[in-house]
């Protein structure tokens, strides 16, 4: 970019621009611990590739005097720290993207922070990068953070690494020190599957070996950082992989055109070839590859296109179109590496929303196999996963989707998890392999259907789910409801929290993770009972919205009735039938709902019972009416 033709000859200039457009793009991230000089290095790259405009530079000179750490010199790092809070604290707390270009390549840099608590940001930066620059301070060498960064970079599938041994000027440009660090890195990183590792001695502050080879390191024969970035071959050649395209949008301008818009994830596709809808197994010939610039004969990975097929087959957003010869796995269970990205811990068994390609589906982590200590790479047993922790897990989905292992295809093997209530992105996942259980364990065909069970009993199966604080009166009311229904000749069953915990769930405690599993099991049992045609009364504190929602989704439409027994904490505590509040207040009982464990109030229960204004008998009557679908004035029919 630094050699625009000087002449004002426009034809010559257009030739030059034509060449510029053919440049390739390299996306990389930089990682290092605090004070390794990451921001200074990127600032230096921007400066040396003449990407800093005059007015930015004068703003920088002004900033340097106020916040800088380099005395009289311009502090290049200040170019990078975008947000006010960061400028004040002198740290980078979020991923920032920077752009620069040379005559050979265009670059997008993800600048990611090195603090312990920000694994999340590094994973984010790495997810779109082809290469990672790992910074180490030549004085300190390989530190814990270096190992952690190398691990995350490898986990996210980056195969090309630069080990930037920075501040080489502070160790007197010592070749021995450089070799020591390089060897140390190579020995621990050998199992990470990196394809290229280039170690470079440099000084970001003074520009040694950044764009030009430094005369101070005559013993180093390798490329400067910029030379390496301009020439390293990171192309995975996605075009050679089997064809995949996740349908993003069904394009239907009128009755005569039905196209499937999306970006080709991998492979190459030509008009006339046969494609398969991965999930349904239906096939058709590709009729046209439509774009605004005209139809294409073939399209390859990375192209945003609209495909039309020869046959009318059922395809909607989220479907994966694939090559017939090499199809993706279609499964509802798989194993994956998971990076947890939220303050609220992962709870196995809780239902999250999973997004893979353009498909969103309800998902639970069915098994947390082990956590990985990102410093020692040790496997640790775990019941929950906290912010910035990494684990190997099994994931179960509400319906099968088309996937590939992440190592084979970053597009069809990556997913995010979204919390269903806060809508926060809580995790990033990389699929390792499908668990073929879904294909091996077939549903047992059943001749006596749930409808048959219900009709023999002459009733509609329902689940009345009583939720509320301990001592709110759930069980008392549920008991009265069951007696009334029984009298009315209805077939019922009452699942009570305490009783279930003595048997089915006696292996569970009261941590958040165990509470989730507790409710999951009860939900499943209630589900089987509705299959048997019963009216099921569930009396459980069930403090979390997510699990009540999960139970709701297990049942058929209209079958789940959430009843919020809304007794204020003070009342429950005053009653304290079982003396539990007293114990909890005394600190003798941990994780007690309402005291040191949260209760999430239902947002839209089918029924809310106010036990401070009506008797248990009155409450029970209202429940019975709702269960049997009776209006206020109607009498019960026996």
């Amino acid at each position: 970019m630094n050699s625009v033709p000087a002449s004002k000859d426009i034809a010559q200039f257009l030739d030059y621009i034509g060449e510029q457009e053919k440049k390739s793009l390299l996306r990389f991230l930089t990682c290092g611990s605090v004070d390794d000089g990451k921001s200074t290095l990127i600032g230096r790259l921007l400066f040396e590739t003449k990407m800093i405009f005059d007015d930015h530079f004068s703003a920088l000179e002004k900033d340097s005097r106020r916040h800088g750490t380099t005395g009289e010199e311009v502090d290049l790092a200040l170019l990078l720290d975008g947000l006010e809070a960061e400028r004040e604290q002198g740290i980078t707390i979020d991923v920032a993207y920077r752009f620069f270009t040379t005559d050979k390549r265009k670059f997008i840099v993800a600048d990611t922070p090195g603090h312990e608590q920000y694994t999340r940001n590094m994973a984010t930066g790495a997810s779109t990068s082809d290469l990672a620059v790992l910074l180490v301070d030549a004085r300190h060498g390989i530190v814990t953070q270096t190992r952690r960064h190398a691990f995350i970079v490898s986990l996210l599938g980056i195969r090309h690494v630069v080990l930037a041994v920075n501040k080489i000027d502070l160790v007197d440009f010592s070749q021995d020190r450089f070799n020591e660090i390089r060897n140390q890195f190579q020995s621990f990183a050998k199992d990470f599957g990196f394809r290229t590792v280039q170690a470079i001695p440099l000084s970001a502050r003074f520009g040694h070996n950044v764009s030009e080879p430094s005369p101070k390191t005559p013993w180093y024969n390798g490329p400067s950082l910029l030379q390496h970035l301009e020439t390293v071959d990171t192309s995975d050649d996605l075009t050679k992989l089997p064809f995949r395209m996740s349908v993003q949008w069904v394009n239907r301008p009128d009755l005569n055109f039905r196209g499937f818009s999306g970006t080709i994830a991998s492979g190459t596709i030509r008009a006339g070839e046969t494609v398969v809808v991965a999930k349904s197994g239906k096939t058709s010939k590709l009729a046209r590859i439509v774009t605004y610039d005209g139809d294409l004969a073939e399209a390859t990975a990375g192209d945003a296109v609209t495909l039309t097929l020869a046959d009318e087959i059922d395809i909607s957003r989220g479907d994966v179109l694939a090559s017939v010869d090499a199809r993706p796995e279609v499964t509802d269970q798989f194993a994956a590496n998971l990076v947890w990205m939220h303050e609220d811990a992962l709870l196995p068994g809780r239902a999250y929303l999973l997004k893979c390609g353009t498909k969103s589906v309800s998902a639970t982590v069915s098994e947390l196999k082990y956590k990985i200590d990102i410093n020692s790479f040790e496997h640790l047993a775990a019941k929950e996963l906290k912010l910035n922790e990494v684990a190997v897990v099994n994931v179960a989905l509400a319906e099968p989707i088309a996937i590939d292992p992440y190592a084979e295809n970053r597009e069809t093997g990556a997913f995010i998890l979204i919390d269903r209530f806060s809508n926060a992105t809580v995790a990033a996942g990389m699929i390792t392999h499908s668990l073929r259980r879904a294909t091996n364990v077939h549903w047992q065909a059943i001749d006596i259907t749930r409808e048959a069970h219900a009709s023999l009993k002459g009733q509609h199966p329902k689940v009345a789910w009583f939720t509320g604080l301990s001592g709110s009166g759930k069980s008392t009311i549920a008991n009265i409801v069951e007696k009334k229904l029984h009298t009315l000749g209805r077939h019922t069953f009452l699942l009570d929290g305490d009783n279930i915990r003595h048997g089915l769930n006696k292996d569970l405690g009261f941590t958040d993770a165990d509470r989730v599993e507790n409710i999951r099991r009860v939900g499943e049992v209630a589900k089987l009972m509705t299959d048997a045609g019963l009216i099921v009364l569930v009396s459980f504190i069930s403090p979390f919205r997510a699990e009540r929602q999960m139970a709701r989704e297990l049942m058929g439409p209209g079958e789940f009735i959430e009843i919020f027994v809304d007794t204020p904490l003070a009342h429950c505590e005053a009653r304290d039938v079982k003396g539990l509040y007293a114990k909890a207040r005394a600190g003798k009982l941990k994780h007690f709902t309402g005291i040191d464990s949260p209760y999430e109030v239902p947002e839209a229960p089918e029924l809310r019972l106010d036990t401070t204004t009506e008797t248990s008998e009155e409450s029970a009557d209202r429940v019975v009416r709702l269960l049997l679908g009776l209006g206020d004035g109607e009498d019960w029919v026996i």
């Binding site: 970019m1 947000l83 945003a304 990205m341």
Partner: protein, 302 residues
């Protein structure tokens, strides 16, 4: 991840189309902010490509401060007609009634009322749950950390500390009622990419980008164009005819011209390549104080 067969412009184009389609597919009521400038022109062009042969599945929204260059408004109306678009024009009527102008209330307050507040008012009025903007990460420091899907609370504010992590191209499009996102399909484009693309695709842009003799006055180191009689002239100030053009477009009293003889697209791009000042320098609002863009973003500005 890299396919070297695609030039960087093709990659950027495909990435933007993907973002635009994702918003249209995931949200129930999206809108595209249309500011008439070069970035909007590129964004609109990409959107038309994204849905071809269908028409745009969402309207455009122009927040009219009433102080835009006249040529911008003409160009806007021509574009809408030429492409058969659905355009909503919104002005903060309370601000207009109160007579808020860049001269009477200062650029800061004026921008807040006639741009930021006007935009929030329009988003609320029509209940949009997603709004496309043409902002790029290379424009300004606080933009460099912006997400592609940038989450906004029910009162349209942006909290840099609680942004959702954004991995791969898997965008989290979930919002609760009243909340929304701003989507930035041009996040990874640079100013140069924009110009190169306009050149390669022959995208129509407002004639103000091309050099021409225009009446200007010099104030505080900036060349202001006298676009209509509303610009109050100081004592002894007379407009001079100068060969100028604009690198960015906004409200004419807040947008500085640059002296230039670049009258064709290739000449503009060439000038841009040798330029040594960044484009937002021509905009008054960034200079008020350090971190001013971040403040405006928190309040709901694009």
């Amino acid at each position: 991840m890299t396919t070297d067969r695609q030039s960087h412009l093709k990659r950027l184009e495909a990435e933007s189309i993907r973002i635009i389609r994702e918003v249209a597919a995931e949200f129930s009521n999206p809108v595209m902010l249309y500011s008439i400038g070069k970035d909007s022109a590129v964004m609109l062009h990409l959107a038309i490509k994204a849905f071809y042969p269908s028409k745009l599945p969402f309207p455009l929204l122009h927040v009219d401060t009433t102080w835009k260059f006249r040529e911008m408004i003409t160009f806007r109306d021509e574009t809408v007609k030429r492409l058969g678009l659905d355009l909503i024009v919104h002005t903060n009527e309370a601000g207009r009634a109160a007579g808020i102008t860049p001269f009477s209330h200062g650029s800061n307050y004026y921008t807040h009322v006639m741009k930021t507040e006007a935009l929030k008012e329009a988003l609320t009025k029509y209940g949009f749950d997603a709004a496309f903007g043409g902002a790029r990460r290379d424009e300004e420091k606080s933009r460099a950390k912006e997400r592609v899907f940038s989450f906004r609370t029910a009162n349209h504010s942006w909290d840099p500390k609680s942004q959702r992590p954004e991995l791969w191209q898997l965008y989290n499009a979930r919002v609760a009622k009243g909340e929304s996102i701003r989507a930035f399909p041009l996040s990874n484009w640079t100013e140069l990419d924009i110009w190169q693309y306009i050149l390669a695709e022959n995208i129509p842009i407002v004639p103000l980008y091309f050099a021409k003799e225009r009446p200007v006055v010099e104030r505080g180191g900036m060349l202001l164009m006298v676009d209509d009689e509303r610009l109050p002239l100081n004592d002894g100030e007379t407009p001079d005819m100068k060969l100028v053009r604009f690198r960015t477009l906004g409200c004419y009293p807040l947008t500085g011209a640059v002296e230039s003889d670049a009258a064709t697209l290739p000449e503009i791009v060439r000038e841009m390549l040798i330029a040594r000042t960044s484009e937002r320098q021509g905009r008054l609002i960034d200079h008020d104080e350090a971190g001013s863009m971040e403040k405006k973003k928190r309040e709901g500005y694009f």
